[in-house]
């Protein structure tokens, strides 16, 4: 399909997407905490050298300022990519994101465009970083009209979706998971985008659909491999965009398999899984041969101790057990 391809990891994919979009469009600027002199996750390396201080800004530790700066810039002709270093710091920016960025177009009658891509780095548990550096907060944002929410699981999707997000004239939250960085895959060397709002079937199967995204998607694939050995054929659907979600692909899959599990790394209550489940219930009830089930985290903050953290994180085993329960 593409002229040439290369193998890179998710971190490199995001880095490459930023570089290519900044080269393509001089109105793209990035800003965030500690992105000039060095970075924790390496994603912004080399950007200062190539694009200079006027397009790569270090900010104080002030996430609401990061979001506010981005909105002011977006309203006046720039295309900012504000970076929130770790997902758990988003609440500090919540006021600007949810009350200003999300509402600016609608409340002012379509008079403005808000082309902002908020890159949310390093979500997720598994690194022993305790309750305030490990959460996956994407569910908080699908509830806010005016925002798009994207969460990729592979280098191909990450690069293509970040490019699409930056080119989109709407505010997009682009989430990243801290354990995804080193996951590798092929990407084309030429320019491409992955459309926002389109899911991808990562594995085809007959007996059960598992919807999972980000790091959980890989656990779902591992579970599918194991379940195959026991004669259960699993289809894995990666929504890639959580709002607007690709209902059609999910419903088609459920129509084929008759069973649905949604797996995610966040507490079950008020989750994305709850939303998908309700949607399938409303629009695909007749396809179902079993109740929709969810694999999610317990309703507790994330504990520090390695002994407890591993119990908190929904894992491959949990998915396998749930699958066996509903495929009989």
């Amino acid at each position: 399909m593409y002229m040439s391809e290369k193998i890179i990891n998710v971190g490199e994919a995001i880095h490459d997407a930023l570089v290519e979009e900044m080269r393509r469009d001089p109105s793209v600027i990035i800003l965030g905490e500690s992105i000039q002199r060095a970075t924790s996750f390496g994603i912004t390396r080399g950007l200062l050298t190539e694009f200079g201080y006027n397009r790569v800004w270090d900010t104080p530790i002030a996430e609401n300022a990061i979001a506010g700066l981005a909105l002011g810039a977006a309203l006046t002709g720039l295309r900012p990519v504000p970076i929130i270093m770790i997902g758990d710091f988003l609440p500090y920016a919540m006021e600007i994101i949810c009350n200003e960025i999300a509402k600016y177009r609608y409340m002012f009658g379509g008079n403005f465009k808000v082309p902002i891509t908020i890159r949310v780095g390093a979500q997720g548990a598994g690194a022993g970083l305790a309750a305030q550096h490990s959460q996956c907060l994407e569910a908080w944002f699908i509830h806010v009209p005016g925002l798009k929410v994207v969460y990729a699981s592979t280098p191909y999707d990450a690069k293509g979706l970040l490019k699409a997000s930056i080119r989109d004239d709407n505010p997009v939250l682009f989430f990243e998971h801290k354990l995804l960085g080193s996951i590798t895959g092929t990407v084309p060397t030429e320019d491409y985008t992955v459309p926002i709002g389109v899911a991808d079937v990562k594995r085809e199967g007959e007996d059960l659909t598992i919807v999972a995204w980000a790091f959980m998607m890989h656990k779902a694939l591992n579970a599918a491999t194991e379940l195959e050995k026991e004669g259960i054929s699993v289809e894995v659907v990666d929504p890639r965009t959580l709002y607007p979600i690709d209902k059609e692909t999910i419903l088609q899959s459920v129509k084929k398999t008759g069973r649905l599990i949604i797996a995610e790394e966040a507490p079950k209550t008020g989750s994305i899984g709850a939303e998908i489940s309700a949607m399938v219930n409303e629009e695909g009830f007749d396809y179902l041969d079993a109740p929709i089930m969810r694999v999610a985290a317990p309703h507790t903050p994330i504990p520090y101790s390695a002994a407890l953290e591993k119990l908190w994180i929904p894992n491959v085993e949990d998915i396998i057990n749930m699958a066996k329960k509903i495929v009989t």
């Binding site: 500690s34 970075t39 530790i61 970083l129 504990p303 520090y304 101790s305 002994a307």
Partner: protein, 321 residues
């Protein structure tokens, strides 16, 4: 830096506590490197010990302290046991928070509130503590430790404003090491000194050499006295240096020359020279203190390593009362 007003036993305590903080820090970095400690890389406080020690030595047991994420000198000085501290870093059941918080330590038995992993909220929590002291009329004070980076966060202004407006018994202790992760102070801060920020609110705001524990102690003592007498908050900006990278294993953005220059201003060496010269203790006695501290730290490490992991049921405990 003649400090005749500081009693001999306080000087000896200062020395012992700074050495404890330094050695403990060194040891936890070691345990992390050896993977005896699994989890968040320690945010070393080496080089900044004089601030936590000098500040907390002016507090009474019943006074509150809100610690920062940088090092443990403040918590160790306020009374947190080395065993409970080390076990918490290792995620063990015997840790001060049963292994649930790791580096986010606390110790309610010594009125040490929690270290937050979020840069910002602590300033407002400390404001609330000061407000509560005023409402409860208890004559306590609260000392809040924060980095220069926190002064760029949205919570800084309301914290200063409210503490001044309501004359709350708060000591704002800023540890200005001029770095905020990989960002340097001058990259993002509009003021020259953090201390300037207290002035519009009419609170005493001073700059001290944060590597001179006696200077920190004296400044803190004045501020504590004022707070206890109902005269309101003070802001103390302690100029200091972070010796290690932001966290162990993080990239370093300063030059080797700068780092070497900083180490010449070691707060422990400075106090040690002073107390030996002024015959507070002999060199031999200082060495004895060092050795005893080392034994305490080894004991704490052994205790933590041999402690059990939290039981699985613990995952579901403490979400609600």
């Amino acid at each position: 830096m003649a400090q005749e007003n500081i009693e001999k036993d306080i000087l000896i305590k200062m020395y012992k506590l700074m050495v404890t903080s330094r050695f403990w820090d060194n040891n936890i970095d070691d345990m992390h490197a050896k993977k005896q400690m699994i989890g968040m890389s320690p945010h070393s406080g080496q080089g900044q010990e004089a601030i936590g020690v000098g500040g907390c030595l002016t507090l009474k047991e019943e006074d509150y302290m809100v610690p920062s994420h940088r090092g443990c000198a403040h918590a160790i000085t306020k009374g947190l046991s080395l065993r409970k501290l080390t076990a918490e870093y290792l995620g063990k059941a015997t840790g001060v928070s049963k292994g649930k918080g790791g580096a986010h330590i606390c110790d309610p038995t010594h009125n040490i509130l929690g270290v937050s992993g979020i840069i910002g909220g602590a300033l407002l929590i400390a404001t609330g503590v000061g407000w509560s002291i005023k409402i409860r009329k208890t004559k306590q004070v609260v000392m809040d430790f924060f980095g220069d980076g926190m002064a760029g966060q949205a919570s800084f202004y309301p914290a200063l404003n409210l503490s001044a407006a309501w004359k709350l018994p708060i000591i704002w202790m800023c540890e200005n090491n001029r770095v905020q992760q990989f960002t340097h102070f001058e990259d993002v801060m509009g003021m020259k000194n953090i201390a300037e920020m207290g002035k519009p609110f009419g609170m005493p705001s001073i700059i001290v050499d944060g590597n001179d524990v006696m200077a920190v102690y004296n400044a803190a003592q004045n501020a504590v006295n004022r707070a206890r007498n109902g005269e309101g908050p003070s802001l103390i900006e302690c100029k200091t240096y972070r010796w290690r990278p932001h966290y162990e294993g993080a990239p370093e953005t300063r030059t080797i020359e700068e780092l070497l220059e900083m180490k010449k201003k070691c707060p422990i060496k400075k106090l040690r020279a002073y107390i030996i010269q002024n015959k507070v203790i002999t060199e031999k006695e200082a060495i004895k203190i060092d050795e005893n501290v080392m034994l305490e730290i080894k004991d704490a490490a052994k205790f933590a390593l041999e402690s059990p992991w939290p039981k699985p049921e613990e995952l579901f405990e403490d979400v609600y009362v």
